[in-house]
Every structure is written in C-alpha cells, then in structure tokens.
Amino acid sequence: MMKSLPILCLILLSLVLSACGSKSESPQEAPKVFIFARGSDAHKLDPADIDDGESVNTLTQICEGLVRFKSGTLEIEPWLAESYSISEDGLIYDFKIREGVLFHDGVKLDAEAAAYSFLRQMDPEHPAHLPEAAFSYWSYLYQDIVAVEAVAPMDLQIRLSKPNAAMLRSLAIFPAWIISPKALDTYGSAMQRHPVGTGPYRFKEWRPNEAIILDRNPDYWAEAPAFERLILKVVPDNTTRLLQLKSGTVHGMDGLQPTEVTALRGDPSVTVYEEAGLNVGYMAFNLEMERMAIHDLRQAIALAIDKQSFAMVALEGTGRPASYPLPKGFLGYPDVEDAMIVDLEQARTLAAPYKSLFEQNPLEITVMNAPRPYLPDPVTAATFVKGQIEAIGIPAKVKSVDFKTHLDLLRNGEFEVGLIGWVGDNGDTDNFLSVFFGSWAAVKGTATNYSFYRNDEMDELLLTARQTVDSAERGRLYERALALWKRDLPLLPLCHGNNIVALSSQFEGFTLQKIGDLRLSEVRVK
C-alpha cells in the first residue's frame, strides 16, 4: 500500500504539469483580444439605472448618446445626432438623427427609437419604466425636460419647462444614452443585464464577478475598434491586478493606488495615463452641530490645514490641492487662487475662545475606510487633518466607517466634520455648486449639501445661473456664489484626485476623458 502513494502523487503531479504545458491564453500573441482589469464588477447594464463606475465604463463601449464630449475635452460634439439646434429662449432642442445607424439587434435608429430611451425614464406608465429601476438621474439632471417627441422620422425634439444651461452636457452622459426599443420585448426585465446599443462593441456574455465579454460591432457606423473582442475582467485584489498587468495577463487596468503609480512611472513596459479628474475631496462642516455652527472655528480650521502638504500625504502626488469647491477651469472659477492660505497664528487666536468646548469631547472627524477617486487613502487623510487641527489646540479624533455607512451618516446629518468628495457628472459648474450649497439639497436623508448650509442669496444665485444661457453672465453669477462660500465656509475643499489608467506600452491611441469614462475602442496596437 505504502508504495502506491508516491506513484499516485507522481500521476497527479504529471497531470498538473501537463495542464500547465497546454497554455491557451497568451495575450502577447493574441492582440485580437483586449483585456482590461478592474476591481469590481458592474452592477447593472442599463444606462438609465446605474451610477457605479464599472457599469458606466462597460456601457461606454456599448452605448452612445445624441451628443458626446470631444475626446479628451469638455466640448460637445454631435454624435448619434448629425446636428442639433437650440432655440433662442433655450427651451427647444432639435436633433437631426444620423442616418444609417443600426442597433446591435438590427433595429434602425430613428427619432422614434431615440425618444424611447427618454420616455421610459420620464413616464411612469411606460412599459420599460421598470418598477425595480431607480432612474435617479432623471429626477436630478433632466427634471426640466417636459416632452421628448419624434417630430419627423429623423427629427427628435426635446422641450424644457425652463432654460437649463447644463442640459446639453447632461445629454452627453450615460443616463441619456440610447438603447434599442426592442430590448424589452427580447429580454423582459433582464434588459437591465443585456444592453443593446449602437456602440463600437456589442454585449456577448456576462460571467458575474468574473468578466464581461464584448465583441466588435461589425456594423459600427464610426471608426471600428481594433480588437475583435474586449474583455472587462474583475480582479478584486490590487496587488494581483498589478501583477497581471506586469505579466501581460491583462492589457490595462484602473484602480491603481498612489504608491503603485509612483512605482510604475519608471516602468517602460507600462504607460500610466494620469490627469486631474473632475472631482473634489472636501471637509464638510455640519452647521447643525453646535460647535461647527461657530464661524470662527471653521475659519480657524481652514487656516490650520496646509493643503499642499495634505496633497502630498493623502494623494502621494496623484492629485493636487484644491482652492475652490470645483475643478479648475470650470465656469466661474476665480482667476486668483487665494484660498490656500495657512496662518497658524491667526488660527490659534480664532480657536482660543472655544477650546473649552472640546476639553471633554474632542472634535470628531468621520471618514470612509475605502478609497474614492478624490481620496485614495481616506484614513491617512483624516489622520493628517486631525494632526493639523490639534496643532491649533483643538483635540480631535478620527472615526472611520465603511463607505455606505459614511454616506448614510452624512445624508442624515449625524456627524460633526466629514471627509467626503464629489465626482462631477456632466462637467458643469451647477453640478458642483448646487449639489454643495443649494438649500433644496439640504434635506435630511437625501442630502448632498452635507453642511446643511441654507442661504437665500446663494439659492437665488444658483437657480438664476442654472437658467442663464449667456455664459459670461452665468460665470459672474458663479463668482458671486463662490464669494458667498468663502465668506460662510460651510465646507473646506482639500484636493482633486487624478484619473489614472495604466495600459501595457504595446498599445496607443488611448485618451483619458475628462468625466472619467474609458473609451477603450480608441486603443490600438502600436
């Protein structure tokens, strides 16, 4: 009996080794397939009912909108619409639908088909207005749309109740992407997991928590992608993902940690694409808490925090310090950057009368324990901030919780100081300032104005600016809104995190998009 054991082992070993001999996946020899690795899987593949990056980035390959951002910019170009015009009063948008575009299921794109994707979101009686879908973006960015109508076979008209200067940009992003009107008939409510668009790749297979497999769209109307197949692979562990990129098992990845970026910068086999993202990481002061309602204390904290050092510590050079609560270059962004002054002396003087308030009960800084695009290492960031606040004589402590709990605490105002951030949706100033300062966004439970800042003048400025079509005039309104922010200081902007993607250096043609979506169909072999 004993003698058979080693033989058994040998047989098993040879089986394993023979298995290793038959390597069938060797990406270097098969540039027909492009494999991109990311940390988690998509949630759903219905453009009207998603908000996670993985879902959006999957649909970026499959679906398109009437208009889109020119590659690498925030300029709008017509896309599934050949051209468009906006009435002088800003209430009527006319789109000329492009001829000769087919959905992946063979249905022809016309005005009627394009209207479908809007109507299913706005009309609760629509058959594709699925009860389990949230359609949360509709009530948020598109609430001014009152009618979407095919006025001629290839003419689509969108009518608004009041002018909305951000609408055209909102039409370029994912909730406004067009899906086949036949998807519901074909897949029923499973249409949320089986996207049918007009884009460069079409959906083939979803192996949940493993990969989403897309095939090249042979009937694509614009420039065809270079690869026959695109695989969006789920590799949850950061180290494993990086090992896979370095070994050539995958061709590209996102979700890089700052330390990894630093290490990769000198690696000739990998190209790191890095650019300031449209986001801002900030510190929200809950004005409904007794201590944070004291203006001098908020001012003292603002003067105590050295944002340059903060960016070095919290972002390790993969981002930059933030002066204002919106990304640089946005409409209304001031020419002078004077919001980054550090003055410990004055900070101590301002804080001195209130020290006794913290003797028993230190200032509580709440933070999430998982990375976000604006804060790749939130706990380190919070600890840094804590140190700086303590340096002016205010004892502080850090409370770290998981991201969903953190959001819940912030939305319900159950925190004192919160480290959080915002990733812009459509590249418009309104999408930052209204979210942060509008009193309508300061409702417990659904708040995005986590400071619970309420100011009539601010509301008036934001609402007027949203409806002002003249860009120069609109810019002046936002400058005034920012002046109000600076005076009242309901939140303190800290940093802007970079969008980071790494591709194996055998590829080219990739451009980082401002709003962060991945146009992988532009990638080519060098």
Binding site: A19, C20, L407, D408
Partner: protein, 334 residues
C-alpha cells in the same frame, strides 16, 4: 439515538443564529434602498420601493416573513444587480464548494501525512514540523500566502494562471454540478479538466494551509498521548512494519480528531475562502457575500448568511455524530 437527542439543540441553535443574523443586518446603519439609489435620491421613489420590498413593516413581521421566504427557497432579488439571489447562489456556491473541497482534501492529506510520519518517530525533524506547522498555518495571513503563491507560481515560474477559475478564451464544460473539474470529467473533456485543474492548484494550496495546519497539530498531539505511544511501541515489538502500523492502526485512530477538525474548521474555511477568492479572482460565494454586505444588499446578505450558518451547524453536527460512532471510548456503536 445520539442523533435524535441532538435535534432540539440543533433547532434552537438555528433559531438563535437566524435571529442574530437578522438583527445584525437590520442594525447596519443606512437605508438599503436609499443607498442603492445612488448619489441623488428621490425620496418619493425610495418610499415606494421600500413598500414594494416590505421594508416598511415592523421587525418581527419582517423576521417571520424572511424565515418563511428563506425556507421556501424564495430568496428575493439583489438590490444592486436585480438578479435572483438563488440564481447567483447556484452560480457562485459551486465555485466555493469546489475550491473548499480541493483545499480540504489537500489539507487533510498533507496534515495527516506530516502528523502520522512524525508520530512514528523515525524522522525526529518531522515532529518539530508537525508541532510548528500548526502555529505557522494559523498565524500567517492567508492573503500573504496567496500573493506569495502568485508571485512564485505564476510570475516567476509561469506554471499556473494568475487567478480566475477558467480560461477566458476556452469553452467552459456544460454546467451540471457547477464544479468545473467534475463537469469536465462528466463531459469527458480532458482539455477543460486540465484548464480547470491548472486554475485550481494555487488557490487550493493557499486555502489548504489552514486545514493542513489544524489537522497536523491536532492529530499529532493526539498521537503523542502516552498510551498511544506505548501502543506504537507494542506494535513495533510485534514486528509489524511501518506501513502496517500506519494503515491498519494509526490512520484509524486519527480519523476521529481529523473529522472533528473538519467539522470545526469548516466555518473558518469559508472565512478563508473570501480572502483566497479575492486574491485569486475566484468567482465564489465568499466574495459575493462580503460585497453584498458592504453594498447593503440586505436580502442577499441575510439569506446567504442564514444558509451558510445552517451549513456550518449541519457539518459540525454530522461530524460530531461520526466521531461518536468511530470512537469506542465515547460510547459509539463499535
């Protein structure tokens, strides 16, 4: 008899465990619907959805309902993906079962071999390995072992794929049991079997460290007991060879402790499965469950946790019964 006596205890355990799971998930802060609805929420729609899902009812009502649905196999849908929980379960559970079985077999094989040969006392260094391996296996973090295996086995040697359960380009065997190795054999597809095996090796080694360590240390210390050492000496003095002592006597004696270890380490194995699944991109139930909890996917989390706890209880229970039968000292059938 032993079995019958344990049933009330088993039922009470299930009741308290399921109630505890329900209470724990209910106590996680945050409204699952509001959190699922993204960064901008429409309060009205949230209220409608809560009503549709029955989340607006009182907690005893929800507990009873959730138990009825769990036992009826109606596990609801995932809030984030919209997929049926049972569909996801039948997709991810076999992956974890396959991995855990392979790891368990490997772990028992290695653990027992080390302990048995060490107990025979022919090679003194083995005894040190056997007593040391327990603490090492229990202390070294599993994800660290995983990364080490990946770096050595995939990156340096290039022998094994870098994570995943199957080759993206290859055709998967027809799904019968969901265990790829078994399905490939059933289909007579040796190519698929070899691909699945190739993917299995590293994660199975990684996950086997814990059971190997516990089996080795528990069995070894059992065999170190003075009467058993005396027994081995007696057998040797009768002129029996090593093989006969091992196969006829020691293996039988170690069966009891080994099965106890399997029973008790099963829960730990599931915990280890989550880490292994993360490092090796293995699409299993551990990762699915942890993601569900973090995403406040309450129905998924609750039903899966209840099922897994039930499974752990059953395994511990069955192993108890087997041990009773095996060990004459504890009043079994022999």
């Amino acid at each position: 008899m032993a079995l019958l006596r344990k049933i009330p205890f088993f039922l009470a355990l299930y009741f308290f465990a399921s109630l505890a799971i329900f209470a724990a998930i209910d106590a996680i802060p945050g409204d699952p619907v509001a959190l699922r609805f993204g960064k901008m929420i429409d309060a009205e729609r949230v209220a409608l959805e809560r009503e549709r899902l029955g989340l607006d009812r009182s907690w005893p009502e929800r507990y009873v309902l959730s138990q009825q649905q769990f036992l009826a196999g109606d596990w609801g849908r995932s809030l984030s993906s919209g997929r049926e929980t049972t569909d996801d379960f039948s997709l991810f559970m076999p992956a974890t079962v396959e991995l855990s079985l392979c790891a368990m077999l490997l772990g028992i094989g290695v653990g027992l071999s080390v302990a048995l040969f060490a107990a025979l006392g022919t090679k003194p260094w083995l005894a040190r390995v056997a007593s040391g391996i327990g603490s090492i296996g229990l202390v070294v973090p599993i994800f660290w072992i995983g990364i080490l295996l990946l770096v050595v086995g995939s990156l340096w040697l290039g022998w094994f794929p870098m994570g995943g359960r199957f080759d993206m380009a290859a055709i998967q065997p027809d799904r019968v049991t969901g265990l790829f190795l078994l399905d490939a054999l059933l289909a007579g597809d040796l190519g698929a079997f070899s691909v699945a095996l190739q993917h299995m090796v590293l994660p199975a080694i990684c996950l086997s460290v814990f059971p190997a360590a516990s089996v080795a240390s528990v069995t070894f210390s059992r065999l170190q007991e003075p009467e058993l050492q005396a027994f081995i000496v007696a057998l040797r003095s009768k002129g029996y060879g090593t093989a006969r002592i091992l196969w006829r006597h020691l293996l039988r004696i170690s069966a009891g402790p080994t099965i106890t270890v399997i029973g008790t380490s099963f829960g730990a194995l599931l915990g280890g499965a989550f880490l292994t699944e993360t490092v090796f991109s293995w699409p299993g139930i551990g990762r699915y469950l942890v993601n569900a909890i973090l995403a406040r996917d309450v129905f998924v989390a609750q039903n899966l946790l209840t099922f897994l706890v039930l499974l752990v209880i059953v395994v511990a229970f069955v192993s108890d019964v087997i041990v009773l039968k095996l060990d004459p000292k504890k009043g079994g059938s022999s």
